[in-house]
């Protein structure tokens, strides 16, 4: 068990190193001279040279990488050329909570609605209900989310005026106001995810319900809800956990678009604006943050398998 855990952690560390090296090279490959960007149009050769040395840009690349990684881990992510504020403050303290709140709301909504829908269509297999759920799951997973967001803005924001169509209110300051502002973005982001959860829950539960142990439970006269939710769902948890973990990347991908559609000041908006403003250090910070988020979630999912499924516990 310890050995297996250690191997997983080692793998994760290697992946982290590769992602960080890639993020580092992003800055090196980016067009333009960072020193020129910082100095503006008018500078002397001496000031250019001294800033190069001050920034350590004259040293060999591996040394620069180690130096950069060390500063990154300590939270020194550099200063934004545009706003002249520390990038760590902007990216980690301000933007990341917005994206995490949005993603958590979308994930919660997707699980809360998706699982019961999936269970219902598995229990009533081949009914009209099942067909409707299948149609929803197909449409929902293929529908472009940014277009869905615009449609929701048009229908609920403009035509009916029910929900706000832009802006973010922190739920930890004003819970109901925050939730109210999150309704449309959360629906937009959760739809493809919900569709997937319906599909996964249905497919796995259908298979599980055909198992002999379910027949045995029925024969013992256990109530239907217990058979489905206790005996059946126990074995659907694993694939669900896998999907939730694997799809976190897709969730962040959707968050980039949702944030742009609804003008939310999250990581996605930050990266998009940074590319448009040629602020490569901010792009780099965004890439590192999303990469780390996905990598650590994957590790958590991997490590949760033995907890969720006793058969996988290595002896």
């Amino acid at each position: 068990m310890l050995r297996w855990t250690l191997a997983k952690v080692l793998q994760t560390a290697a992946v982290l190193l590769i992602v960080s090296a890639a993020s580092f090279s992003l800055l090196k490959l980016a067009p333009g001279d960072p020193v020129e960007l910082m100095l503006g149009d008018d500078y002397s050769k001496e000031s250019h040279q001294s800033l190069m040395i001050q920034l350590g840009l004259d040293r060999p690349l591996p040394e620069q990488y180690v130096d950069w990684l060390g500063r990154f881990v300590r939270g020194d992510w550099g200063t934004s050329f545009v706003s002249r504020t520390p990038i760590f403050q902007y990216a980690f303290v301000e933007a990341l909570p917005v994206t995490l709140t949005l993603s958590a709301a979308a994930l919660g909504l997707a699980l809360l609605i998706g699982i019961p829908l999936g269970v219902l269509s598995a229990v009533r297999k081949d009914s009209a209900w099942d067909a409707a759920a299948a149609a929803f799951s197909l449409t929902g997973s293929a529908f472009p989310s940014f277009y869905l967001g615009i449609l929701l803005i048009w229908i609920f924001g403009v035509a009916f005026g029910l929900f706000p169509t832009m802006g973010f209110v922190a739920p930890w300051q004003d819970f109901w106001g925050g939730a109210y502002h999150l309704v449309l973005p959360a629906i937009t982001l959760s739809t493809p995810f919900m569709a997937l959860i319906v599909r996964i829950t249905r497919a796995n539960l259908v298979e599980v319900l055909e198992q002999p142990y379910i027949a045995a439970a029925r024969a013992r006269g256990e109530p239907a809800w217990r058979i489905t939710w206790v005996h059946g769902m126990r074995n659907v948890l694993m694939p669900l956990a896998t999907i939730v973990g694997l799809q976190l990347g897709a969730l962040l991908h959707g968050a980039v678009l949702t944030e742009t559609v609804f003008s939310l000041p999250g990581v996605g908006r930050m990266i998009t604006d940074a590319v448009l403003n040629r602020e490569y250090m901010v792009v780099q910070a965004g890439v590192m943050m999303t990469g780390c988020l996905v990598i650590f979630t994957n590790l958590a999912v991997d490590l949760s398998y033995p907890v969720l499924d006793p058969r996988l516990r290595p002896r």
Binding site: Q11, A14, V15, I18, V19, A22, L26, L29, A30, P31, L138, T139, S141, A142, F143, P144, F146, Y147, I150, L151, I153, W154, V158, A203, E207, G249, A250, L252, H253, V256, L257, T260, V261, I271, T272, A274, V275, L276, R278, Y280, V283, G286, V287, T290, G291, V294, I295, N298
Partner: protein, 298 residues
């Protein structure tokens, strides 16, 4: 599956065309959604190839008498804020959609094949390193990875193709590796090895053919994803540059006018949604056809 009715009655009596019609009718009855979705996807492909003949106007023709005009006889889907005909722009836009979709999938599949083969055929530290490399690609969501590439490469159609293509290497590499491992464990590969067949020849004659086919199936399924990511890039203003009639770009242009003229975003968005849903039904059908495990579950 078994499709053509070749029972004695028709053979040699009917001509080719009715047989084809019967075939289509049979398919339509057996798998209506798949046939309709295939027809819709082919219609989009047709529109892309024959755009100049199908579209009523040139994509950048500006009708200054009809700015933001609602759908009418002259402009079936209305016009945008420059007076450009939306239907024509959507039709010309299919060219970008398919060009970017196909090309980037080819790049992703080729890169994935190379890395997946290497990871599947090597052992020990090299395999471990390659797999961590694939994990690292997979750790970044495809859109964010594509954005990172765009930030280095700059905007433009060719850049979008590269960015989306590179971002798709990870998933392809992972499936190729899994296929390689499966094929490598087969008795015929082992037999070839024991017979002293050259290692490169085994890869070329025995492993590659068994990996290419599932890869092609994967590629058809992933075209929809490539189209989605590339139009998302354009929607964010990081992809194809205006005034090209790219759907993502058109949706983003119409966003400012959503409350007064909803069709500017609505028309290209509906086209994108229709195409993606159709492609996903086609992809599911293709996967079902070639994956016996999936068929058994139905």
């Amino acid at each position: 599956m078994a499709v053509r009715d070749l029972s004695g009655a028709d053979r040699g009596v009917r001509l080719r065309a009715p047989t084809l019609l019967r075939f289509l009718a049979h398919q339509l009855a057996a798998r209506p959604f798949f046939v309709i979705a295939t027809a819709v996807s082919l219609a989009f492909l047709f529109a892309a190839i024959f755009a100049p003949w199908v579209a009523p106007y040139a994509p950048n023709f500006q009708d200054s008498d009809a700015l933001m005009a609602p759908p009418s006889a002259a402009h079936w889907c209305g016009t945008d804020s420059f007076g450009q005909d939306l239907l024509s722009r959507v039709i010309f836009g299919t060219r970008y959609v398919f060009l970017i979709g196909f090309s980037s999938v080819v790049i992703g599949a080729a890169g994935g094949l190379a890395i997946g083969l290497a990871a599947g055929l090597t052992q020990g530290a090299v395999e471990w390193g390659l797999m961590r490399f694939v994990d690292a690609i997979l750790a970044l969501p495809s859109l964010i990875m594509a954005i990172a590439f765009i930030s280095i490469l700059g905007p433009g159609i060719d850049k979008v193709i590269y960015a989306v293509g590179f971002a798709m290497i990870g998933p392809f590499a992972r499936t190729v590796r899994a296929d390689v491992l499966q094929v490598r464990a087969q008795a015929f590969v082992e037999a070839a090895g024991l017979m002293g067949v050259d290692r490169l020849r085994i890869i070329w004659r025995h492993i590659l053919p068994n990996v290419i086919f599932p890869l092609a199936v994967q590629a058809t399924i992933r075209i929809a994803e490539a189209i989605l990511v590339s139009s998302a890039l354009s929607f964010l203003g990081l992809g194809v540059v205006p005034p090209a009639p790219d759907w993502g770009l058109m949706i983003s242009e119409g966003r400012a006018f959503i409350s007064i003229v909803p069709w500017i975003s609505g028309v290209p968005g509906a086209a994108l949604a229709l195409l993606l849903i159709s492609l996903s039904i086609v992809g599911d059908g293709v996967r079902e056809q070639f994956d016996p495990k999936l068929r058994a579950n139905r």
